[in-house]
Symmetry: C2
Subunit: 319 residues, 2 copies
């Protein structure tokens, strides 16, 4: 990073989740000048170490004079995170500068804020980070009415209209996959470092045929183990089949719940890591849905941009 | 154990599962003279140590002269067990003396056999131990036609008629409960050493109202965590609610699959540990089912009795 580039940095956007830290240095024209990532997510960072992790990751971006604006979203604002940021209740529009929580830091070289999460009273549900990505999508498509799906450890399905998050539901699909692969009786049949996209596609085709019991996770999964005991099945194939089975169960249940979709031509918007959204895309296309995928970082930064502008413009922040 | 009692022992029945070892000393008239139990199940016993564990548990029953007949069923016959016993395919009647597998032992004081498991090709499924309990029930009710449910780590639902196991399905409900309570994000809300039967009953009533999404485990469970984050929920209440939710999901899916049940007056037969079958009984009664519960040890011993008699009577076994 040259001093030249360093002086062009206008603000830093951070997506700090359970498993990953990703930071982006942006200029005043929304261009990404530089980025950094580590797996120092909330699960592994101790509460008192958040600032140190952040500074270590972005120190080469710090200005020679003055303070750098750092806007963060995600599990960094959870109870087990750096500092608990509040929730905004649904229905909920994009955040403003007054919504983000200022964090006291030891360092005098940053001014840090954490975005709130979004909560729903009935049924009880919460999100942290995904809302920022949805607001980013609404920056691009302010009139969007439809369903947004954000695959992940705890996938979110969200109804959006009138520029608001209306309601949502969390599916613990990613976590369930890890638990079953690594900790359950299925591990004897599914432990593999390989990933077979081909096996995944085959399993999607097969599970689409058996759609009637897609939701019966408790009853359907043991057959993975039994098939291996009776016939022998390669671990990479069994692992891909388990993944397809779970994603199919999630999509099947969600499509049922977000049923009005069937009458619309609006694609489901998928926001997430490319490797994962690809899998959801395949399952949803098999379920006769149209999809439109967006990379998570783009969405996060667009979602934080408005707040960054407001803080920078209103000179709430003195560089 | 007196020498007098010792000489009355005719054979020993053993139920050796993943988590538990239970042995019973029986006389020639089917009376239980003594019993012993430990948590030295398949999960913790190393393959070469099975005989030592068995002998330690039953040494006070060994006859002063000759050999003691020991009949075992359960995961002791699994690939990770003492020695892999074969499967018999459905449809499948009670075992005969030629079905059980003789085990080579170091000790000259026992003659040990392991009962086979039962397998199903399509959909692939297996059981070990439960089949013996079902055969025990058929000893009492040879003309039984209906559904047997055996709750546990891997619950089995089984269709029985003409004295045969016709088909079955495994639900990994017990294992799922442990994984979610101990390893998932829900652990922050559900870890409690208390068990609140009252909370379980409340949750059963509530989940019966929300029957339409009973099967949606991936989507329904996160609300346990969210409710705690938003309102605070005691861990013992959340744990009981999770248990009710999972058992309800299992019973709901199984009742759908074993649908012809609705036309019959025959109760569902529940076989298992009393503490667990009680919970299933409550959920099933809420789902307007009739149930008839039997203790697992009784069923196991009745299921092994026929084989024991055959071996003893045919003098295949020389005491």
């Amino acid at each position: 990073v040259t001093d030249n580039l360093r002086s062009d940095i206008s603000w830093v956007g951070v997506d700090w989740g359970s498993s990953n830290f990703r930071a982006y240095a942006l200029d005043a024209e929304r261009n990404i000048l530089d980025s950094t990532a580590t797996n120092a997510g909330m699960r592994v960072v101790e509460q008192r170490n958040y600032e140190a992790v952040l500074l270590q990751q972005i120190q080469h971006w710090l200005p020679l004079h003055g303070k750098l604006l750092v806007l963060m979203s995600g599990m960094v604002g959870a109870r087990q995170g750096w500092q608990e940021a509040s929730y905004k209740a649904v229905p909920c529009v994009s955040f403003t500068a007054s919504d983000v929580m200022p964090i006291e830091t030891q360092s005098q070289r940053i001014r840090a804020f954490i975005a709130p999460g979004v909560s729903q009273q009935n049924p009880p549900d919460v999100m942290r980070g995904e809302e920022t990505q949805i607001f980013g999508w609404l920056e691009q498509q302010p009139d969007f009415t439809g369903t947004v799906c954000l695959p992940g450890t705890h996938s979110k399905w969200v109804t959006v209209s009138d520029g608001e998050i209306k309601q949502f539901r969390t599916y613990i699909t990613g976590e369930m996959f890890s638990l079953l692969c690594e900790q359950s009786v299925l591990k004897h049949s599914t432990q593999s470092t390989e990933w077979s996209r081909h096996s995944f596609s085959n399993a999607v085709r097969e599970s689409a045929l058996a759609q009637h019991d897609a939701a019966d996770i408790l009853g359907g999964l043991f057959s993975t183990r039994a098939a291996d005991l009776l016939h022998g099945v390669s671990a990479s194939r069994a692992k891909a089949a388990l993944s397809a089975r779970l994603i199919h169960a999630e999509c099947d249940a969600a499509l049922r719940l977000f049923a009005s979709r069937e009458e619309t031509e609006t694609p489901i918007v998928l926001i997430g890591d490319a490797a994962l959204t690809e899998l959801y895309e395949e399952v949803l296309v098999h379920a006769k849905q149209q999809v439109h995928s967006i990379a998570a970082p783009t969405a996060t930064l667009l979602g934080l941009q408005g707040v960054a502008n407001a803080i920078l413009n209103k000179e709430l922040f003195h560089a």
